[in-house]
C-alpha cells in the first residue's frame, strides 16, 4: 500500500505530488483530510529528508566509514545515504538521483526497501515522459504532464496491489 509520492528538484521545490489514500482526492489535491495543504506538507517533508540525509551522513562517519573531505560534501553519496525511516504506522522511502532530484514515497510500515522501485520511476517514467518531453524546459515548474501522471498512477497501482 502506497500512501503518497513527492518529487523535489534540486532547488528544493516540490515539483510533483500525488496521493493514493483516497481516490477522490485525485481531482481535489488541495483539500486533504488532515487540514494541511499539500504545499505546506511538502515543505515539511523536504525539511525532514534533508535533515535526515545530513544526520545520516554525519553518523555514518562515526560508524566505520571515514568522513569525506569538504569538497565532496555536496556530491551524492549512494554508499552511505539515508534510505528510509519507519514509524508505527508508515514508512518513508527516499531516493536521490545524481542530478539532485529527490523522490519520496510514504507506504505502510511492512513494505520492504523501495529504492529499486523509486529508481524505476525515475528511469522509466520521469526520464521517459518528463525529460524527453520537448515542451518541458524549466525544471522549476510543477509537472503538469498527463502522460507522466497516468503512467505513474498505473505503475503505483500495479506495485501496491
Amino acid at each position: 500500500m502506497i500512501y503518497n509520492f513527492y518529487l523535489f528538484n534540486r532547488h528544493c521545490n516540490c515539483i510533483y505530488y500525488a496521493n493514493w489514500q483516497n481516490e477522490k482526492d485525485d481531482e481535489n489535491l488541495n483539500t486533504k483530510n488532515n487540514d494541511m495543504k499539500w504545499e505546506e506538507e511538502a515543505k515539511l517533508v523536504y525539511g525532514v529528508v534533508y535533515s535526515l540525509r545530513n544526520l545520516c551522513r554525519k553518523l555514518s562517519s562515526v560508524n566505520g566509514v571515514p568522513e569525506k573531505s569538504e569538497k565532496d560534501d555536496d556530491k551524492i553519496d549512494e554508499d552511505r545515504g539515508f534510505l528510509s525511516y519507519k514509524t508505527n504506522s508508515y514508512k518513508l522511502h527516499y531516493y536521490e538521483t545524481a542530478s539532485g532530484l529527490k523522490f519520496v514515497v510514504c507506504s505502510d510500515p511492512r513494505t520492504p526497501n523501495l529504492q529499486d522501485m523509486l529508481h524505476q520511476i525515475y528511469r522509466d517514467i520521469y526520464v521517459e515522459y518528463v525529460v524527453k518531453n520537448p515542451l518541458y524546459h524549466s525544471d522549476n515548474d510543477y509537472i503538469n504532464n498527463t502522460l507522466f501522471k497516468n503512467k505513474l498512477h498505473e505503475f503505483i497501482k500495479s506495485q501496491s496491489k
Binding site: Y3, L52, C56, N63, E67, K86, T87, S89, Y90
Partner: protein
C-alpha cells in the same frame, strides 16, 4: 552485528548521554552530537505531522551503512542506538537500557532530572550490558 553507540535525549531535545562502543574513535565532537540530537528531536516531532495516517514518531532509520533505532518513553525521553544494518531485536535492548537508566540514574539521589547523566554505576552497567550483546553476536 554490533551496537555502535547509545544516545539519550531528554524531553526538550537536549542530549543528556552519549557513548560510542566501537573501537574506532569518534570523529564528531560533543557539539556536533548536541546538534544531531536536536535535529533528531525536531524531525521526530515533524514525522508525526506529515504522517499520512495517525502515527507515532520515528522508530527506525535505515541508512546504507547503519541503522538507528529510537525508543521513546512515556515521559518523552528518547533512547537511541545506532547499530549495523543486520542487527536485530534492538527494541528489546533499548528497553533493557531504559531499565538500567531507571535503576542507576533515576534512583540516584544526586541526579537532577533532564540534566546530563554523570553516574558511574550507569556507565559501568550499560557498558557491561552492551559488551555482552556485542560479544554474543
Amino acid at each position: 552485528m554490533t551496537i555502535s553507540s547509545l544516545m539519550i535525549i531528554n524531553k526538550a531535545g537536549g542530549l543528556i548521554y552519549q557513548k560510542g562502543f566501537s573501537s574506532t574513535p569518534s570523529k564528531l565532537d560533543s557539539n556536533e552530537y548536541l546538534v544531531l540530537a536536536g535535529t533528531f528531536h525536531g524531525v521526530h516531532t515533524i514525522s508525526t505531522r506529515i504522517a499520512p495516517v495517525p502515527s507515532s514518531g520515528i522508530e527506525v532509520i535505515e541508512a546504507s551503512t547503519f541503522k538507528l533505532h529510537c525508543f521513546q518513553t512515556q515521559t518523552g525521553t528518547k533512547f537511541i542506538m545506532t547499530t549495523d544494518p543486520e542487527q536485530t531485536r534492538v527494541e528489546l535492548y533499548l528497553k533493557k537500557v531504559y531499565e538500567i537508566y531507571s535503576d542507576y540514574v533515576m534512583k540516584n539521589p544526586f541526579y537532577t532530572p533532564e540534566m546530563p547523566i554523570r553516574c558511574e554505576l550507569f556507565d559501568v552497567n550499560v557498558l557491561r550490558y552492551i559488551k555482552s550483546i556485542n560479544e554474543s553476536s
